[in-house]
């Protein structure tokens, strides 16, 4: 019984979500191998070999794998899928895109967004935006899984000494191509990997106010910035900052919610944070029901005061 983890990487380094997925893979009970499918990705493959608990890294390199196109990455996984009892992807935009293609081609059901491994064939996963937790059992020969990274600790990024094996790259499907991307450049920690997140809601009122109030606090705390769906829909913050069931699922050490009422779908994305602070002027806001420390105050006064007193 061996589990294969599909690494999330940018060709130069391994993304944090891979480390949590390795922990989930180890919990399935057997050896853990990691597939690094990319272009000029030798550095990422080396980094994967250093992850504690990884026995082998398979490195497939070709131009067709440069941008993680689902058709090509799935073909690469399928080429070696027969060797594995479990195939695990992080439940990131990249993992969610590819995993079902692999499952369908193997004619197996997929278990999405697992938060716990009960046994090699039984897993826990949230449904209905986290309002219920289902325990599910798969009867399929291969378990294709996506892993909710906040459900598992990160494996140590160093200490491992896995062998790196090259695999022949599969041909380009020719049906899709990468045109371009707009990735926000920022010195801030990545939202899903941040230790502290400060998050703003619709109460901020405009994108100018959002930046004016939230950015200094984030700078002071070395925090990532998040937003509620309402703030994103209103155009106050870009969509990749959205925390919630349909956005990013986060679990930092400290989550500071400013002017966020606490809709179910937002709570689903952040309620596993270690310490939650809520600043809201509405005493009835549902966010207070999950907050460790609630401050009933106007955020336009309280947040700058908080920033200056840190």
């Amino acid at each position: 019984m061996t589990a294969l983890v599909i690494a999330e990487h940018d060709n130069a380094s391994i993304k944090g979500a891979t480390l949590n997925t390795v922990t989930a893979a180890a919990a399935c009970g057997g050896d853990v191998h990691v597939l690094v499918a990319g272009h000029n990705a030798a550095a990422a493959a080396q980094a994967a070999a250093h992850i504690a608990g990884v026995a082998k890294v398979i490195h497939a390199d070709s131009e067709a794998l440069a941008h993680g196109l689902a058709e090509n990455v799935a073909a690469q996984v399928l080429a070696i899928a027969g060797n594995y009892s479990h195939i695990l992807f992080p439940a990131t935009a990249g993992g969610k895109n590819v995993a079902p293609r692999v499952a369908a081609k193997l004619d197996v059901g997929q278990i999405s967004d697992i938060t716990k491994v009960d046994s090699p064939d039984t897993f826990e996963r949230p449904i209905y935006a986290g309002n219920a937790i289902a325990t599910v059992q798969s009867a399929d020969a291969t378990k294709v899984i996506t892993v909710r990274t906040t459900g598992f600790d990160a494996a140590a990024a160093s200490g491992g000494a896995a062998t790196v094996e090259s695999a022949a790259a599969q041909a380009d499907s020719g049906k899709s191509s990468y045109v371009g991307s707009e990735i926000a450049k920022s010195d801030r920690p990545e939202l899903t990997a941040a230790k502290i997140i400060v998050s703003g809601g619709r109460a901020l009122g405009s994108s100018e106010k959002f930046n004016e109030v939230m950015t200094p606090l984030a700078d002071k705390l070395g925090a990532a910035i998040g937003a509620s769906r309402a703030a994103v829909d209103a155009g106050y913050a870009p969509n990749d900052l959205q925390v919630g069931q349909t956005g990013k699922i986060v679990a930092p050490q400290l989550y500071v919610a400013c002017g966020i009422s606490g809709a179910i779908q937002h709570l689903a994305g952040m309620k596993d944070s270690k310490v939650i602070v809520a600043i809201n002027k509405d005493p009835e806001a549902p966010i207070f029901s999950v907050a460790d420390f609630g401050l009933e105050a106007d955020l336009f006064a309280a947040v700058p005061e908080l920033t200056s007193s840190l």
């Binding site: 949230p126 899709s176 460790d292 420390f293």
Partner: protein, 249 residues
């Protein structure tokens, strides 16, 4: 070009579901059911492509119990031209739905299949990608912009950290993210018109698909409750608590 739009009947997004006391599932008896919000965005996008002259016909499909007809009528009120119901009382999992849709893709030969990125009940996020794999089609998931021209679609996708644009050759599968469009308000005249539109019904057997579930739900539990903490009177107390009690800053 035809566009196929699969739609799912789910518990309305405003309903707070309750776990059944025997932990066999969530209680969906007598709760309001609606079209999955991501699927509504998919129908809207397809209808807009028809209004732009890119598509000639929009076909809505739903798989499930007889009441899915209501969901199809809603899709037709938004502007879909006709509906197909694959009727079964079996529990349908994403792989089974993808196989049913694959059979309909073979039959209808659409240029595009547009569907929601995930359903808000099982939160699987699988069906579109599985259909693309089974039908050997390219996919563009989590779309926030779709432009169709010259036998291909340029699709802007919401990914971690920003946006990415892919070009996929048609036919292709596109799944919708929240910000692709805002579905129109359905008017009464259009609801009346939708009642007269063609709706065909098949059984999974008619399409030669085995829909038996692969994954068994052993139990469904309430999530661990997070207890409310304390209210602090002012910013100074908050800072003190964070520094000295929680020790997180």
């Amino acid at each position: 070009m035809k566009i196929l739009v699969p739609v799912k009947r789910v518990v309305d997004y405003n309903v707070k579901v309750r776990v059944k006391s025997d932990n066999s599932g969530v209680d969906i008896a007598n709760v309001k059911m609606s079209m999955n919000p991501f699927d509504e965005i998919a129908v809207e996008e397809a209808v807009r492509l028809k209004e732009k002259g890119v598509a000639t016909e929009v076909i809505a499909v739903s798989c499930g119990v007889a009441q899915c007809q209501e969901t199809l009528r809603t899709a037709m009120a938004i502007g879909a031209d006709r509906g197909i119901l694959v009727e079964t009382t079996e529990e349908l999992q994403p792989l089974a739905v993808a196989k049913l849709l694959k059979a309909l893709v073979d039959k209808e030969q659409p240029g595009l299949v547009i569907l929601g990125k995930q359903a808000i009940d099982d939160d699987c996020n699988q069906t579109g990608q599985m259909l693309a794999a089974l039908a050997d089609l390219p996919q563009a998931t989590f779309a926030s912009k779709v432009e169709v021209a010259d036998g291909k679609a340029n699709v802007t996708r919401e990914i971690d950290g920003g946006l990415e644009t892919l070009a996929v050759s048609l036919p292709a599968v596109v799944t919708t993210d929240l910000r692709l469009n805002e579905p129109r308000y359905v008017t009464l005249p259009n609801i009346m018109k939708a009642k007269k539109k063609q709706l065909d019904t098949f059984k999974p057997e008619d399409l030669g698909v085995d829909v038996a579930p692969r994954i068994k739900t052993l139990k469904v539990m309430e999530p661990a409750k997070r207890s409310a903490g304390i209210k602090v009177p002012d910013v100074a107390t908050l800072v003190d608590k964070l520094k000295n009690v929680a020790k997180v800053i």
